[in-house]
Symmetry: C2
Subunit: 269 residues, 2 copies
């Protein structure tokens, strides 16, 4: 079962949609090692011809025809790509026609709408700025404006999760660390009082936290497995005590963390 | 042409793939105002039944059947959703079969692979930390480790673009502001010397910059249209003088900015 396959993600825009769906589909065939190539901005016949040359070269090198995931809308460029010997999975063609039938109107076949800067763009950028200012306990006087406040021990993933919520969904996501003083006092940080309903806890398995912290501060007390165990145990105790919903983020991606939080808190995306 | 339609994005995981493709497809029908609902984590029959109830309620409210974009893999849950009266566009069903035929092996039909934390996850998180430390000229002594250094005037979009490059692609993206001293001296900031090949300029139309800055500091010299015109003219002059490739980001999304930079610089994603 040693197939060698190249998959191309081809788009007249960023290629992000083709990449996302293509990766999801390829991950269902885990015995094959795919090489993936993204070819964005294929918006002129010359670029499509160059893409075909790349596809054909991969075909020859692999000895198997490549797979093309395409979101191309431009007819001339599509026609060129179709002349390659690849298996072409055209994400738009498959779905545009049933939608046209359903709605009883033709689609606009307009390029570049999918990621156009919408009216919520400023809101997303405002959220990024807010989140940067409220990372790791920053500028606490504006914490009340947060949509959600992530809490957890150092290095459990609060920052990337907050940024993803802001960038992707325009959520004002602050984060605040739980530290030794909170554990000894058996209380939430004073800054968080009154914000209980916005709190969401992230937790992680001690072995993984040990690994993450060791990359930065090897052989430190901070990174020691025993200390990681202690901090996580205490943090989880606080979360239970104050009824803070929480999620074990070990082994799950930042996309999944963000989506889970939105889902569980009911925040609009 | 006043159709009222609800579109559902349904998944046994985050729903991000269904959302991305679904939004792209719906944007091709711009005369219809869609209401969109994402139902992630539909991984139990009870949840699928609740989803069907929501679909049917939307059907009744709209007087038109809803559209369902689905990446469900679980058979029992899929069967339940199919019993709703919606138009179901099953993103996996459409493509998994041709891929199985092509590869000559069955797909694993395993849920949750698409966004699983891969081996590059730590790398992405490292990139986020690096980018946060090197936002807006921070910690310049490690600038040489950057994969790319975005330059441009204040508020032209350097920070969100850097963060997106880091979060999505694991790129070490620093950013450095161009300020009045650089313009009067007609030179790049001294910190950037030796990094010329990593520099990438962002620019923006003065009217848009004026708008963005006015939201933060109304009636300031900083936000004045005349000052925005001056700063952008000077910044672009520096970019041309030092052969820094640059991009006008007015009206394009952070996804498009990031993808364009990767494409033009040849950085691996």
């Amino acid at each position: 079962m040693s197939q060698k396959r190249t998959a191309f993600f081809i788009s007249d825009r960023t290629g992000i949609t083709a990449e996302n769906l293509g990766h999801s589909l390829l991950s269902q065939f885990d015995s094959i090692a795919f090489r993936t190539v993204t070819l964005p901005f294929i918006d002129a016949p010359g670029k499509a011809q160059a893409a075909v040359a790349q596809i054909n070269a991969a075909h020859q090198a692999d000895g198997q025809r490549p797979i093309v995931f395409s979101t191309l809308l431009l007819p001339a460029e599509r026609a060129l790509i179709e002349q390659s010997g690849a298996l072409i999975l055209d994400l738009f063609e498959m779905f545009i026609e049933p939608l046209e039938t359903e709605f009883g109107i033709p689609s606009s076949h307009a390029v570049g709408r999918s990621h156009a800067a919408g009216q919520n763009y400023s809101a997303r950028m405002d959220a990024v700025n807010y989140t940067l200012n409220h990372d790791d306990g920053g500028i606490s006087r504006e914490l009340h404006r947060a949509d959600i406040v992530l809490v957890g021990v150092s290095r459990c993933g609060k920052t990337p999760a907050s940024l993803y919520l802001a960038l992707q969904f325009g959520i004002y996501a602050a984060n605040y660390p739980l530290v030794a003083e909170d554990f000894s006092g058996n209380a939430l940080p004073a800054t968080l009082h009154g914000l209980e309903k916005k709190l969401y806890g992230l937790t992680i398995r001690p072995e993984r936290l040990h690994q993450i912290r060791s990359e930065r501060a090897p052989d430190s007390h901070y990174a020691a497995l025993e200390n990681c165990r202690y901090e996580i145990k205490q943090a989880e105790k606080l979360m239970r005590q104050f009824n803070i919903p929480h999620l074990d983020v070990t082994g799950i991606s930042v996309e999944e963390i963000a989506t889970t939080l939105l889902h569980q808190t009911g925040l609009r995306r």
